[in-house]
Amino acid sequence: MNDPLDAIRDTFFEECAELIEALESGLLALQDGTRDADTVDSVFRAVHSIKGGAGAFGLTALVAFSHDFETTLHALREGRLDPSREVVAVLLRATDVLGDLVAAARTGADAAIPDTADLTALATDGRVRTDFDDLDAFEPIMLDIGQSRLGGPAATSAPGSAPLPAPQPPRRWHVGFEPLPDLLASGNEPLFLFRALEVLGRLNVTALEGDLPALVDLDVSTPRLRWSIVLGPSAPDLTETEIEAVFEFAVDLCVLEIVPLALEPERAGPVVRPGRGADRPAARPRPDAPSSAADLAMASGAATAPDGASRASATIRVDLARVDRLVNLVGELVISQSMLAQGLWRAGFDRQSEAVTTLDELQQLTRDMQDSVMAIRAQPVKSLFQRMTRIVREAAQVTLKDVRLVTEGEGTEIDKTVVERLADPLTHMIRNAIDHGLEPQDVRIAAGKSATGTIRLSARQQSDRVVIEVSDDGRGIDRARVLERAIACGLVPKGKVLDVAEVDRLLFLPGFSTSTTVTAISGRGVGMDVVQRAIRDLNGTISIASTEGRGSTISISLPLTLAILDGMIVRSNRHRMVIPLSAILETQTLSAARIETLGQGQRVVRLHDRFVPLVDLAVGMGFAAPAGDRAPEEDTALLFVQPDESGPFALQVDAIEAQRQVVIKGLGENFGHVPCVSAATILGDGQIALIVDPVGIARMSGLHPTPRLPQFMDIPSQ
């Protein structure tokens, strides 16, 4: 652990992410017509907390913006502002900006102070700013960062200034703050509280070092100092509640006294008690007591108070590394347990013997334990889906389309890593759907559809996989055009006839784009092949379905976890390897297969009504000499596999040994990229087996579809 402050900072940014999520969902609820005070309060609180934390860390840009944001939300809270659709739209854009500022603050990047004219207009007179042309109005605010707006009247408006006029001379407040013994232990720190308070105005802090014990009796984990603070608020309408909110998390752990002062502040509020220890100068802290108190807080930080858990919801924040360690350990347990089982079996234990039955129970327990540990890492896709609302908003603004996002199954849970790594592909798919899928409004109306396009984002669990779908009610895939483009790009020989599925698969070829014009959000050379690769890296599969004129649906099927894989353990040339079950279409015994040999020793085998290439697994992996110089064994079998991007092919293996779940062991830093291998696993006997990447084999064996199409060979008519 490096600087403990960094850890606190990290926590702050994590909280920011959650707060922005809460903010966004609150605003979306308002947009949908919710009007209750709780929602408005939660939205206000989210921004307020971000402002407070930002103040504590001296993130001035963030403080300034969230202050203006807060002012507007304050108007909303007081009922001066009606949460109409337009108003919420501005607030949602402000949320996006806030998110950008937080991100910038986290990386330490410089963010120019954003334009807050929209917000201040709302706050002062409740109007949505309409004094510039439409296009400008629909421009997302985030684009304003770091560049001056061209032509808008907002260009010259001074950013970040508090919009409210001062109706009366500012009052001053006396804040008496006396920590109770548990304050430091609960992770609170007076210094940070004061910094948060400082956001509200100018502070005059006096440490009351009255009844301090002798240095030898001083317990570092118990706060001894009390403070008297005079606050000169920068916002004249500062309320007691706002001051109190700064101490929100410490309120049960301190004696707090907030008294408005007359213009001439009286020193020494009622909190100050005559000090008993004034005659013990040795115990007197130096004037920089708050910062040394910070050190004390660090020292006691390891014993963070258990009473924090009783507050709010019954969740705890756990370092992901600890969970991962647990996942690994349980994985080890599963492996050792199956090694033990093999050992017992080899030692000739009877199936009915106590040792074996107990081991069976142990197996059940470890399985349950594994499931439970995996569940810790599971996360609902809600946060991911919520992020997509922003993508939809922005894409809709840029394409000038009216888009509605409908989400389903937000509670579906999936591994945290998967959730994180899905953001990019989903973003891409949604932008594609809006840009290419949905028609312009006039076309939609002409086609008898509603003017508002619908993007549906759904998640559901299907046995041990999660299926995520992005569908639109747009024009669907224009397959004739796709084929035309593919021929123009040289991806398909001219005059070739492809079936519907083959045409759809063309969309996933690298370098393929139907869009002849490059728009701001798609068509920039990043195609669906990138999406497909990202999904495949997650052991997922992707498929597309489309009806012309009715829309398209792209489905992603993902494993629940990245830690376990269902695989078939096979043997080829004495090497044992694991083929992911998700890639296997079907298996055939060698005797049942119809194998033909083409020129150059290339073998093909019949799969239903087609012949597909046949590759010996060991040869494909580079473990054995090419050509069929190894005699087929008794158990030789063929596995038909289908990587997403190319047609199916068959892998010849010497034997299929078992089908089971294996614990995935990443090859990690030591290897970089190893062709034909996605990861490794440890088998029951302790030996390592490689997990085969069928795409890699296809590529290394020259079956990769680019630049040519999947190597289908039509069966000659008999």
Binding site: G331, N670, F671, C676, A689
Partner: protein, 164 residues
Amino acid sequence: MTQDPTLPPAPAAQEERNGLLTFRCGGQRYAVDIIAVREIRSWSEPTPLPHAPAYMRGIVNLRGSVLPVMDLAQRLGQPPTRDDPRNVIIVIQDGARVHGLLVDAVSDIVLPRADQMQEVPRVGGDDGTAMAERLFVVDDVMIQVLATGRILPEVRSALSERRA
């Protein structure tokens, strides 16, 4: 940089206090900094990796994690080490990377004096010598001190060069 041979550089003297693990490999004697050695484990058959350089013998199970093992002799340009149950795998750590070196046998832990150490003389562009950073003589036998960092990163680049 030229240095007075009677005054060995101070950092080297500092480093030698760590001690060196010496071992036999392909008929020669080598040593690595004992700090880099995480453990020494007995031989177990590695699972070969596809399309990997010849000196990469494969991967073995090191208490649940995947340990890559290379044949050090082959890496140093000598004939491959013969499979022998008496072979050992020296597990070395270089930064975040953990790697196994297949060698014939471990010999000793030595603590050579700074004045025993000698820079490796430049002999053409031989790869084998480039991986040693210093050498010293014990009982009339030359021992080359290998730079772990120089052995490992090249493994990676050799592999990534083969990227499709």
